[in-house]
Amino acid sequence: MRSAWRAELLKITTVRGLWLSAVLAAVAIPTTSLLVVSTGGLGARDTATSGAATGSLIGLLAYGAWGATFAAGEYAQRTMVVSLATVPRRAVLYAAKLAATATAAAAGAVVASGVALLTVLAVTPRGEHELGNPAALIGVVLAVVAVAVCGTAVGMLTRSPSGSIAIVVVALLAPKAASGLLGGLQRWVVGASPDTVITQIVGGAQLPAEQAFPHGAWAAAATMVLVGAAVSVAGFVSFLWRDG
């Protein structure tokens, strides 16, 4: 499994488009935070920590699309046949792919969150915003990893880079966009969507009560992880069914 995981990481680092898009996804997080902060976008109740998380939605979209491209690209570029011939155990290959995605996304999100916090602290006037709890930025890392892994699973499901990117984008944006249609489910669906999970963990920005998860931020995070696990299982079942 370790060798397969290292090979999947090597797949990322040996194709410029793949590693560059992962880097750009990470860069997008502090860049967006910088734009928000420098244009006066932080509210009075925001902290430096919540300011650092303002770029997270862009990061989620970018990492989700990246994970989808990484997986579906194996089919689009017809490289999957070599992967199947060299790592023929489907569970090992699939797990290695998800683990490599998670590793790259986690590394990028940790660095991006740290840089975003330092950027916000550097840009905002001293004392204007409290620091908040920087450790809460683990929520950004958790959400980015969950979305990137989901993107990879969706990529394995659809085998189409553009199709899987579209699904990831809709899955991330639709809950909030269609929140009015969800009625009583709004707190569960919107509350557990990755962007809202981050908002609940880092605090700061006001979240409408009807969109806050019923059992708190960490329960929302756990639900998000469970949904991610379910999508991953669906991807694996599809992989076994079609390539088993």
């Binding site: 060798s3 090597l10 040996t14 194709v15 570029q77 017809r78 046949v81 992967s83 011939a85 060299t86």
Partner: protein
């Protein structure tokens, strides 16, 4: 897997009653044959005969409807370090076009815990050392075939499976490949190669398996297939083959 006198691991390919039905069409119909260590087994058949499907099934890439395939006494995917058991060239365009030849081989080697030295050795063997850092998409078909062969051999496997490796090769490369196939078999490896190049098969093959319409039409030594015995005139492979599978 067994070990030969020279210390090399050897493994036979065994196919038993392999049947594959796709959308109601029987692509493979109770196919049985074997390929033995130390021999080049030619796998021949017209386009659409089921050759590639059979080779993919041996490697566990395609699932059979019924029957089984084994390498070294067990299904390929049950081996712990698969590329040391069997290496394959199934299609020349199976490397990412933006990845370099060196990067592609490094991914394959790393997936089975092999050192970078095995990558460099293969690049030298197939003559791609000088262009190892060129993206695969910028390589000619012949170069991609060489990379595919390197991919198959990077694990120094006991079994080598090659699907139409002559495609895109120039005359010099075809001669070079002939030597490689012979050397692989002489070193105790099992070589299973599909090709439409009858003249090459006639030069390098030891055994022959002919498939047509998803069924085995012949499976014997090449000499027996060609009637190459005392008092009998050897028939050219192309004639004997077309006689068996029919002409257009």
């Amino acid at each position: 897997m067994t070990t030969s006198a020279g210390g090399r691991s050897t493994a036979a390919i065994v196919v038993e009653d392999a049947t594959k039905v796709i959308d109601g069409v029987t692509v493979l119909d109770r196919v049985s044959f074997s390929a033995q260590p130390g021999r080049v087994t030619a796998f021949l058949g017209p386009n659409g005969a089921g050759k590639s499907t059979m080779l993919r099934a041996i490697l566990g890439i395609d699932r059979l409807t019924s029957g089984r395939t084994m390498i070294g006494g067990r299904p390929f995917r049950e081996h712990r370090r698969p590329i040391e058991v069997a290496g394959a060239l199934l299609t020349p365009d199976s490397a990412h076009p933006r990845r370099t030849a060196r990067g592609h081989l490094a991914v394959v080697a790393t997936s089975n815990g092999l050192p970078q030295a095995s990558v460099e050795r293969m690049l030298d063997l197939v003559g791609l050392g000088a262009i190892a850092d060129l993206p695969v998409g910028q390589m000619s078909l012949g170069m991609q075939q060489r990379l595919g062969l390197a991919t198959a051999l990077v694990g120094d496997p006991a079994v080598v499976i090659l699907d139409e490796p002559h495609n895109g090769l120039d005359a010099a490369a075809i001669r070079w490949l002939r030597g490689v196939l012979r050397a692989l078999a002489d070193a105790g490896r099992t070589v299973l190669v599909s090709s439409h190049l009858m003249s090459e098969i006639e030069l390098v093959g030891d055994d022959i398996v002919v498939i047509g319409g998803g069924r085995i039409r012949a499976a014997s030594t090449l000499a027996d297939f060609l009637g190459d015995g005392p008092g009998t005139a050897r028939v050219p492979l192309e004639d004997r083959y077309l006689e068996l599978v029919g002409e257009l």
